[in-house]
Symmetry: C2
Subunit: 446 residues, 2 copies
């Protein structure tokens, strides 16, 4: 029996549990245009207020998933796995992770997003890889591929990294735009349905979630992050997928490089067996869990060992080279990144005034400073500057002497570099003693 | 400083108190079309959730009031007063009340509404008075007058009873339509701003509110009704008006007649010094308080005595006759109502099966049965049948013997009469002992 839309809104307003059929009717009507934006906006605010049960969240997810195409990899012959991060500053993990996992024989069909606000986006970073393009037109690394091209890419190279297409979860595209202007983004069930509907539509059998915690993350506290992680794991499992969520620290930036081309450079270091310890740890553990969920290894420790091995023996780098070439980038980025990536014209060192220890480096402030340099977006229609950003020479726990370089600012103009240097100096909390940091690994939800 | 609309919504979502300027900006933008319906819908749901402080409610009221024309009676030379009821079954109080108050030298510029759901509306009832119309076209009693005609009417006769015009509080017209389809009607601050903005725009200096309590009322419990009454009195006083709210019983219908023409007939009985005791009590007390607030008398008792006198000496009936003529109805309705009103073709008596006492008569069930007979509307575009309805011969507390008439059903067809008789029989709770009723007067808020 079909309900009137206003009755569905009223039931949620009154804290009642909605049947799956009501959520299906609502989402179908919204996509078809028979449920107007104003009714969906009132419903979304009622969900922010009242929340949703696990059963409602799973039903909403299912309804959104069904609004568009779903990719199937049943005929691929190898297991599939994907990873999603809730976003942070310096979080380039997907870029070395996907080729590492693919090098271990698990296909990675990954649909990613763009940066917004203080967090960067995988697609922007990949598009900083210049090159001939897939058709020789000089477009460089291409992420706007059709689903058919994506399928072909994963079939031939074992991986692919593309952006959202019109045909994947149109309900989310429409609903997210509405939530953005109606102050209804902050709702765990709506976030879960938004993230997972896209990830499930990609069709990967296993999914590892990286839920960031801290000032530079969407979830500022461990409690909120745990609630989101738990809701996502439950909803993903209810939809028949293997899902693990890790809670990881985002009170300071991840790794050393922040900015699009700069993060590709750090990713290549990781793929060569080097790079900052925290970034490598995340690639190894998240990748290891993807191998375990996909059935490639029996334990997380085995999975971590397998990922570490392909980072150290060049197999992951080879897979990255192959992926870059297949998606239109210049594969020499894997061997000599700065022969392919654009360097910023101004590089300004930020030097220490005195001696001391870095006690904290606020991820949000660093992220906002990077956006002001041009590395990110305030609004989704803003252009991104691929070359600019920061290289951190000192991170929380680092000691420094007077005149030592704390960070490099890569900027378009000397004025922009000076302004960013002042901002970055304020983001460094220095003094005596030990930094009070979140542990890199806060929790895990299976 | 102007805020982004999404920030205003987010602040309310987070339970913060909004400054008056933010509410003004929101309402102005909504009326101008720059704040889209979906943002206002999300805001309204956030208000249902978080409520509003007295200061916010007063500011919202002020912003809505300013969205259209405000009538001023400063040049009238006599004080002005108005009355508003939250609506009930058989509530025809305004119709005898307005002429009674006007007969006591306080002008009554009254803008009323139409019936919706199980509650009737003053305008529908008045329009059952047939007659020549204001221009001789045969339209009968006219309620769609311009503000200029309304002003002239009040100036010459001391009263006028019309419907909402486009120029009075356009913000409410637009907001109410949106709330109706987004399950955001049930919010005390939104109700207060909606009711009072229209009443204050009429310009009356004093306002008496009749907040109904019980099954047939919008507010089912004394607590909810008291909260609404208190919020209305505070907001009205903050806007510089004299306001009193009475809480009165609506667990059973008011008076004996339910239906449009039937309620005009009961009103004429009241204006002739007769009629049911409960209806007369309400006219006397609400009218008495209007006289007191308007400064015409010093105490409520004096006011009640003055109203009772004009009901008993024909002065109120004379004012009613004058008003009916001025608004296009046939003034003979004051002398011989059924020579002017349409009678239903079928009148079916509902007779008692045995002997007993009426313990309860559920107002909501009676109201819904009247709507199904055609006396009311389920949707605002429905047509209303002026002639049909009920006359209650027995009410809670009445004793009856076998075969006695409990009620008359006035219907369009025998089938409709039989169906309504069955419904009405179910609405009567009969047995031994004393009825457990709400007192007619539950509370008063100054």
């Amino acid at each position: 029996m079909s309900l009137r839309t206003v009755e569905i809104i009223a039931a949620k307003r009154d804290g009642k549990e909605l049947p799956a059929s009501a959520l299906q009717q609502l989402i179908d009507g919204f996509v078809a245009g028979t449920v107007p934006d104003y009714q969906m906006a009132a419903f979304a605010m009622a969900v922010v207020w009242r929340g949703m049960t696990a059963a409602e969240t799973a039903a909403l997810l299912e309804a959104m998933l069904k609004s568009g195409d779903e990719v199937s990899w049943d005929d691929l012959g190898v297991p599939t796995a994907d990873k999603h991060s809730t976003g942070g500053v310096g979080d380039k993990v997907s870029i070395p992770l996907a080729p590492a996992v693919a090098a271990c024989g698990v296909a990675v069909p990954m649909i990613s997003g763009r940066g917004l606000g203080h967090t960067g986006g995988t697609l922007d970073k990949l598009e900083s890889i210049r090159g001939p393009g897939r058709d020789g037109s000089g477009k460089g690394f291409e992420t706007r591929l059709s689903l058919d091209d994506f399928r072909e890419l994963v079939r031939t190279t074992g991986m692919g990294m593309i952006g959202q297409t019109e045909r994947i979860v149109p309900a989310d595209k429409k609903l997210y735009a509405l939530r953005d202007v109606t102050a209804t983004v902050e709702s765990i069930p709506l976030i879960v349905a938004s993230i997972l509907s896209k990830k499930l539509a990609e069709g990967a059998g296993a999914l590892v979630l990286d839920v960031k915690v801290g000032s530079g993350a969407f979830m500022k506290t461990r409690e909120d992050a745990l609630a989101l992680a738990t809701a996502m794991v439950k909803a993903g499992q209810a939809a028949g997928r293997k899902v693990t969520a890790f809670l990881t620290a985002m009170d300071r930036p991840l790794g050393t490089h922040i900015g699009n081309a700069l993060e590709i450079a750090e990713s290549v270091e990781i793929l060569r067996g080097g790079g900052p310890d925290d970034t490598r740890q995340e690639v190894v553990r998240l990748g290891g869990e993807m191998l375990r969920l996909a059935g490639r290894v029996a334990t997380l420790a085995e999975g971590e060992a397998a990922i570490a091995a392909v980072l150290d023996n060049g197999a992951a780098l080879g897979k990255f080279r192959e992926m870059v070439q297949a998606q239109g980038g210049d594969p020499r980025v894997a061997d000599d990144p700065w022969s392919v990536l654009e360097r910023a014209p101004v590089v300004l060192p930020l030097r220490a005034d005195g001696a001391g220890t870095v006690l904290a480096l606020d991820a949000l402030q660093v992220g906002l400073a990077a956006v002001r340099l041009g590395a990110g977006r305030n609004r989704s229609e803003d252009e991104v500057d691929m070359a600019v950003g920061f290289i951190l020479h000192k991170k929380p726990g680092s000691h420094f002497l007077p005149g030592e370089i704390m960070a490099e600012i890569h900027a378009r103009t000397p004025e922009a570099a000076e302004a960013a240097a002042a901002e970055l100096r304020r983001a460094f909390v220095v003094g005596e003693g030990q930094p009070d940091l979140l542990p890199l690994w806060l929790d895990v939800v299976h």
